[in-house]
């Protein structure tokens, strides 16, 4: 869902690092964009994020080659992953539209990184972690380079195509990874009573993190199809529109 929401927010009405000024989503060219200073900031932000996720991608490949297996690769990219995914919180302010969708997307990613994977050390060696890390990495590299090129008004069709096509596989992949990871964390959370507080206490409050995680998993059921079909719809709109444009060139 964090994977899907990222792409959905990005594609729907633009989440992520600045698509202001870029003909996007509906294909209408909005002449008014950010000023030159803001544009510079956005370009730098998107370039840095693209680079960051490339670092993670390279880190994964190198670790795989060094270890000779794809198990427990999380440890080799743990720090840049935390850094760049958490850094995406900055996007929430600079996105021109749908603060709700963007913050939802970033929050769910940050939740998975910190409140699940970081907090429950036992799941860090699970293969499901690799599943969502790969999905996120590929998605983000494409998404941030899409924004960079859009801001510079020079978007290669390949990038646009990739952004609106690869999600078909990456989204379910990411969601599977996320769900399996949360599921794997459950017994350890219950055992340790992680982030949970029970009665009696002087603030008359209780919280069961184990139950909360189960609720999160259940919430994927209504949310995932909505986001997925929204992106399919966006894909049809944008890729066919581009085809038409090409016809008239």
């Amino acid at each position: 869902m964090a994977a899907a929401a990222a792409t959905a927010a990005a594609k729907g009405n633009g989440g992520g690092g600045g698509r202001a000024g870029a003909g996007d989503a509906s294909g209408t060219r909005k002449k008014k964009g950010p000023g030159p200073l803001a544009t510079a900031y956005l370009v730098i932000y998107n370039v840095v994020m693209t680079a960051g996720w490339l670092v993670i991608a390279v880190g994964l490949v190198r670790a795989y080659l060094a270890k000779g297996s794809y198990h427990s690769l999380y440890y080799s990219i743990e720090k840049p992953l935390k850094f760049f995914q958490t850094g995406a919180l900055l996007e929430v302010g600079i996105v021109p539209s749908s603060v709700v969708l963007t913050s939802f997307q970033v929050m769910s990613r940050v939740f998975l990184i910190w409140a699940v994977t970081h907090s429950v050390k036992e799941v860090q060696s699970e293969d499901s972690v690799l599943l969502f890390v790969i999905a996120w990495t590929i998605t983000e590299i494409i998404r941030y380079s899409f924004y960079t090129f859009s801001l510079l008004n020079h978007l290669p069709y390949l990038i646009k195509w990739a952004r609106y096509t690869l999600f078909i596989v990456l989204y379910p992949m990411g969601v599977s990874g996320e769900l399996l990871t949360i599921y794997a964390a459950l017994p350890f959370v219950r055992q340790a009573g992680l982030y949970s507080i029970s009665l009696p206490n002087k603030y008359n409050f209780s919280f069961d993190y184990h139950a909360f995680l189960i609720l999160i998993m259940i919430s994927y059921i209504p949310i995932f199809p909505q986001l997925y079909f929204h992106m399919i719809h966006q894909r049809r709109k944008i890729l066919s529109h581009t085809e038409e444009h090409k016809k008239f060139e």
């Binding site: 009665l199 008359n204 409050f205 209780s206």
Partner: protein, 308 residues
């Protein structure tokens, strides 16, 4: 007297929906809406939004045709606001829920707490007091809805009732669960804390009621007039000197009082969420006042004196 012709087009598709001829120049939008309903009965007036521009603001029911910037053939654009429900219905439903739900927890109805606690009673005085306060609060709201408030709008979108009831009923259940729990821990500073909190609660309830009455008296029955509210002889209304929406100020105060009384974190969270929403409303109201009245008192803040 020249008659007008009115054509009504769909704001999105521009499809011609209705053509009215021989419309009186002094006809109101409300009357035009009624005429439109005759040809499209599924769109009762409350769900019609008519405007001069497809993307523009809705015209008001009181607007008069000849006063609008239109020729003798007026084109109006129609937007369906969706199914509507009356404000009174929404308020009664959203307030009756918490009243009833809290009592389910207070009386420890089966299947909430362990079976050995079914229909037992808490041994803490503050728990009984809290039930009285919470119930009083919602009874007051219900009575105000029926007898005090004069609503500007008749209806709101139907989906609001689901949203609003989820909020009120959900929080009521959440708070009530802990306050009436067999393992409830009474306030740290005991009777002192409860007495202080009760005083805050009562004062704020009286304050809130005073403001509602003052606002009611500003507006004649059946009208939608808006006037600047001013302090009256009732000291509770003197808060108008400092804020635009003292009703919200007092409401927040009541819930803070209730939170201190019960020393229950969910109550504090409910107060916080409510405060956030009321601040948004107060700011909007404050802005409207400033826009509408040139001589609006400059000292006033929206909800918190001098601050917010």
């Amino acid at each position: 007297m020249k008659h007008y012709e009115v054509e009504i087009l769909d704001a999105k598709t521009r499809e011609k929906l209705c053509f009215l001829d021989k419309v009186e120049p002094h006809a109101t939008i409300a009357e035009i809406k009624n005429l439109f309903t005759k040809t499209h009965p599924q769109w009762y007036p409350a769900r019609q939004s008519l405007r001069l521009d497809p993307k523009g603001k809705s015209l008001k029911d009181e607007d008069i045709l000849q006063k609008l910037p239109v020729g003798t053939t007026a084109t109006l654009y129609f937007r369906d606001l969706g199914a509507q429900i009356s404000w009174v219905t929404v308020f009664l439903t959203e307030y009756a829920g918490p009243l009833f739900i809290y009592l389910l927890f207070y009386f420890r109805v089966p299947f909430i707490y362990g079976h050995k606690y079914d229909f037992t009673s808490s041994r803490h005085t503050v728990v009984h007091l809290a039930c009285i306060c919470h119930s009083f609060h919602y009874v007051k709201r219900l009575l105000e809805t029926l007898f005090v408030h004069r609503f500007s709008h008749g209806t709101m979108p139907l989906r609001n009732i689901f949203k609003n009831c989820t909020y009120y009923w959900g929080f009521a259940a959440w708070m009530a669960y802990y306050i009436n729990h067999p393992l409830y821990t009474p306030p740290t500073y005991g009777a002192q804390q409860v007495k202080l909190a009760l005083a805050i609660f009562v004062i704020c309830q009286l304050g809130n009621f005073s403001i509602h009455m003052a606002l009611r008296d500003l507006r004649p029955a059946g009208s939608k007039t808006r006037k600047i509210p001013y302090p009256t002889k009732n000291p509770f209304t003197w808060l108008f000197l400092l804020v635009s929406c003292p009703n919200y100020t007092y409401e927040v105060g009541s819930w803070i009082g209730f939170a201190i009384m019960t020393q229950c974190l969910p109550v504090a969270l409910f107060s916080l969420v409510g405060f956030t929403q009321m601040t948004i409303w107060a700011k909007g109201k404050h802005r409207s006042y400033l826009k509408e009245f040139r001589d609006y008192p400059p000292l006033r803040m929206p909800i918190i004196p001098f601050l917010l």
